[in-house]
Symmetry: C2
């Protein structure tokens, strides 16, 4: 598949865009006209730059409002088109995108429109150019791909074909299966864009909220499947306000990953299969507050398993089937945080190859002879992900055994990773594509400093992503308190809470008002309610079951990590979102009352 990306997807100057597209591994680009207009480099210089980077310039775009009922205006548009062909010749680009007309001057007659396109084709012939005619979803007269195709067939000019854009077709609910009926030779270009579902004006939706394939809710694999006969470039064209601000290198990699994913999903270029994920093999925490972290782990019923035989700053703790690796950063002032996740999979080598084909960066664990090889990659947020075979043989390096001792902790319920502002879509695609997880609907939770967005995913394990507003005027809550957590599973949250308190744990304090409200809205026995209140245990329920859970305070100072203990009863499938606002307000107060920077 010849992969391409429109320069409008990327931030920076045109030169920066080209370099990033090439570095990520794209085959070509679409030049968005305005990027060239504002560039100090001549078309010839851009052509040379692209050539030296190994990029083809597959398309020049957009050419708007070409056809016209007014003959004088039409002649003027032909001259305008000719000027662009001259420019494209200097640029070394042979195809122009001609959008269906959105103005009042649009021709509303297929035959007349075909005649004007044929005139454009004659002009293209003279300059050895091709014209890809695209039906914009909000075109005045032409706004469906089938209509644009019929007009192109009527124009019957070898230089004139159509461009198919997944957004324009899927956003209005059209069935891409109809693409199979088209002559593939007449499809000159394909643009892909996904988008979250929005009940809003199509133009606004399209201009601001497109995302890469696999990051929205449109059926991009279905769309690409319908293109099985098409052999031209498949190009990303994403208008997204966040992309315009984002690090260009990272966006380009994210984009190519989305094309790799969609080519696999559509059966076009299969990847190694998604791994069979069993569970979390281990959780690795780095801390500059070792004493505080191990004390809380002890309160939670964990036991020290041992020290790594070689890396003396690394120790392992376990409770039930949960294994936590801790690296002591010493008194460096580094915050306590999740550094790595061990993912238990059937075939670590294949899982890692899949991740690498999805543009993930390899990470090398320092391993010596006699130590287990664990292949690993880095997630976009920097978290290391180790692919582990069953058996936890690596524990031998710690002189420890798997699953030592009895515990009220039965496993890992889920892990929540903090994501930087704007980066949720990228991270979701990474984890769903690399691990084959399925994303739940996104939730938003109010906090005293802004909305937190949460994305849960589920496969052989549960993983959630949290994004908080970065630029809140109420203080930088993201960097300080809420974001990452590890949720441990238990079979009896109330007993677990009692046991933790007996060992000395300070459970995060939950306001009485919460329990008053709970009493008004759920039908729990009074004795249970009293126990929940006494132990600071929260309660949620859905159609299928119930969720009892409590939180530790943040681990270490400064800390970015806290631990939750949760009991699922029945088929509860949630994550306690309804309670998250209570927790976040409590964490905000703890933080504000400390010296760490939220205005009081």
């Amino acid at each position: 598949m010849h992969t391409a990306i429109a320069t409008v997807c990327l931030s920076g100057t045109l030169a920066e865009k080209l370099r990033s597209a090439a570095d990520a591994g794209f085959d070509g680009v679409e030049i968005f006209e305005q990027d060239l207009t504002v560039s100090p480099h001549s078309p010839e210089q851009i052509r040379e730059r692209a050539e030296s980077l190994g990029l083809s310039i597959d398309l020049f775009q957009p050419f708007r409002d070409f056809d016209a009922t007014d003959e004088q205006l039409f002649q003027c548009n032909l001259r305008r088109l000719e000027a662009k062909f001259q420019l494209m010749r200097r640029l070394g680009c042979r195809m122009i995108l001609l959008c269906s007309n959105v103005s009042e001057s649009a021709v509303r007659d297929d035959d007349a429109l075909a005649r004007q396109l044929r005139a454009a084709g004659d002009l293209a012939e003279r300059y050895d150019m091709l014209i890809a005619y695209e039906a914009l979803a909000w075109g005045t007269y032409v706004n469906r791909f089938r209509h644009s195709y019929d007009i192109v067939m009527k124009a019957k000019h070898p230089r004139v074909g159509i461009c198919l854009d997944s957004f324009h077709i899927l956003s209005r609910g059209d069935d891409p299966a109809g693409i199979r009926d088209l002559d593939p030779e007449r499809i000159f270009f394909v643009q892909l864009a996904d988008a979250p579902h929005r009940d809003m004006n199509l133009l606004e939706w399209s201009r601001h909220d497109r995302v890469f394939p696999g990051e929205g809710e449109l059926d991009l694999p279905g769309f690409v499947s319908a293109l099985s006969e098409y052999r031209g470039p498949v190009s990303l064209e994403i208008f997204n306000d966040s992309f315009r601000e984002a690090d260009v290198t990272r966006t380009a990699i994210d984009g190519l990953r989305s094309l790799t994913w969609v080519a696999d999903q559509a059966g076009r270029e299969p990847l190694p299969p998604a791994p069979r994920v069993a569970s979390y093999d281990f959780i690795e925490v780095h801390t500059g507050s070792l004493g505080e972290v191990t004390k809380i782990l002890h309160h939670l019923g964990f036991r020290l398993g041992g020290y790594h035989r070689r890396k003396t700053d690394v120790q392992v703790w376990s409770a039930g089937s949960v294994t936590i690796v801790i690296r002591d950063l010493g008194p460096t002032g580094e915050p306590t945080r999740l550094h790595a996740l061990g993912i238990s999979v059937d075939d670590p080598g294949s899982a890692c190859r899949r991740a690498e084909e999805l543009q993930a960066q390899r990470v090398e664990r320092s391993e010596e002879e006699g130590e287990l090889h664990l292949p690993a990659v880095e997630a976009p947020d920097g978290t290391e992900m180790y692919f582990c075979p069953p058996g936890q043989e690596w524990l031998r390096e710690f002189h420890a055994q798997p699953g030592e001792g009895e515990s009220f902790i039965t496993g890992v319920d889920h892990v929540t990773l903090a994501q930087p502002w704007h980066r949720l879509d990228e991270a979701r695609l990474f984890f769903t594509s690399v691990l084959g997880l399925k994303a739940h609907p996104v939730e938003q939770v109010p906090t005293p400093a802004g909305l937190v967005t949460s994305q849960a995913m589920r496969g052989g394990l549960r993983l959630a992503l949290n994004v908080a507003p970065e630029a809140s005027e109420q203080g930088d809550f993201l960097a300080a308190s809420y974001p990452e957590h590890l949720t441990l599973a238990t079979n009896d949250a109330l007993a677990a809470a009692q046991s933790c308190v007996d060992r000395g744990l300070r459970i995060l304090d939950i306001p009485d008002n919460y329990y008053d409200d709970l009493a008004a809205r759920v039908d729990l026995p009074e004795a249970t309610l009293a126990e929940l209140r006494r132990l600071n245990v929260l309660y949620d329920a859905d159609e299928n079951g119930e969720y009892f859970h409590f939180y530790t305070e943040t681990l270490g100072t400064p800390g970015k990590l806290y631990i939750e203990v949760a009991e699922r009863r029945g088929g509860y499938e949630g994550y306690g979102w309804a309670d998250a606002a209570v927790r976040l307000a409590a964490q905000y107060r703890v933080l504000r009352d400390s010296t760490r920077g939220i205005p009081s």
Copy 2:
């Protein structure tokens, strides 16, 4: 008018919200239930806090989905309501907001609904409470204010009235004039919210994009006018994602300003009239790079008028009718920026009183005997605004005369102020209400580091506001380069550019590609195009006229200010937005190529 604000409009903890509402000067608050639920303070403590701050608790909200076709569910809802009445008694609040049902269990029969509301009224009677029934715009059965009123009239219970919310009425295009037909005694509560026009789902629009009255596009003055017989609280209820992150003190002041404005516009509580604004009296620049700034002013044809007789670090420059005051900050590393605007008005005292009644902070100029008194206030962004009588008598303090010398500069065309992220709505309301300006539609301009939003306003003068993305991963462009500028008017931009170049000015370099594109899209004589290209002058046109303009480079290092020189021909009413992307890309490159922090 009894003014109130819903706690959901404000960020922070409930205690912080109350203090900010009181500090701003509100009479009361609506307690949004979740704010209480997550608070560690008991209802009694909140009651005491509000009392000691002089705030009444006017409403408790929301109570959702009360009525039910299922009798058992209805009884359960009654018990839920009773629990809330008990809570409200502790809180010292006598009115609850009961929203129309949005669930499938909604009663779809006026008589049955009235019966259930009557039962709620009986319960309210026992607790000495009042119920304000509100038609949500997306209610399952009741979604128009007239319908909610008819049901309340049918319920015929002294404890049951309606709540009118401007958003729910105006967002769906209903005419508020119908409010005049209602019995004012049955209107228990009024909530105000404005919003920008959005062609999207009402619920999503309402939950994320409301703004304060005067900051959106709904007719709030018309709505409040229709309430002439109503004497209860008028309360702000704004769901806005940005407000949740914003500094709470500032949001509260912004909110009260919006109520002051709407009460004036509706003829309810008139302010001193908007001033008759003639022009800019002066522009005050503060700089740590005096040499560079004065050199560029000299290139632009300005002459030194003199030094302030007492403040030796202040000097005045003039060209034509333009007066620029410069304060030398010395080599402090402070960026060059606009510090103050002198606004020429008919009655400075009255203009300043109006501004103060609109919650503007007074600023005192250091004045001694024999110096002119210029009343002044501070805009939300910190810019000082001096109200100046005609004649520029203050120039005597500099031993200077108004309008000395001939110049190709004929006046100030407009001034553009940079606004912090999220603060555009607040600033627009401030300037339109204080100066009586009229806002144009907002424009968005792409830059290599994100979209810049621009808001132009026009009255006796032209003023524009710019907002850039603060958290761009491509570097902090806002703090460094683009934001503020002063646009000087000329009658001949090409001659002015030549004259400036002759004096040594370096005009911001505009790419050749811009002129190639210009040639393809506009019909200008070739000689003119060649002159534009040679002199780096840009060109825009609208239906009425043309705009010729050029830019200086940024003034001083570090600088936040540059100067534009512009010629309007015919009735051109724009600001050269089409060219702004070219300028921003050029400024981005200058910045990136310097050492000031944008990744290359």
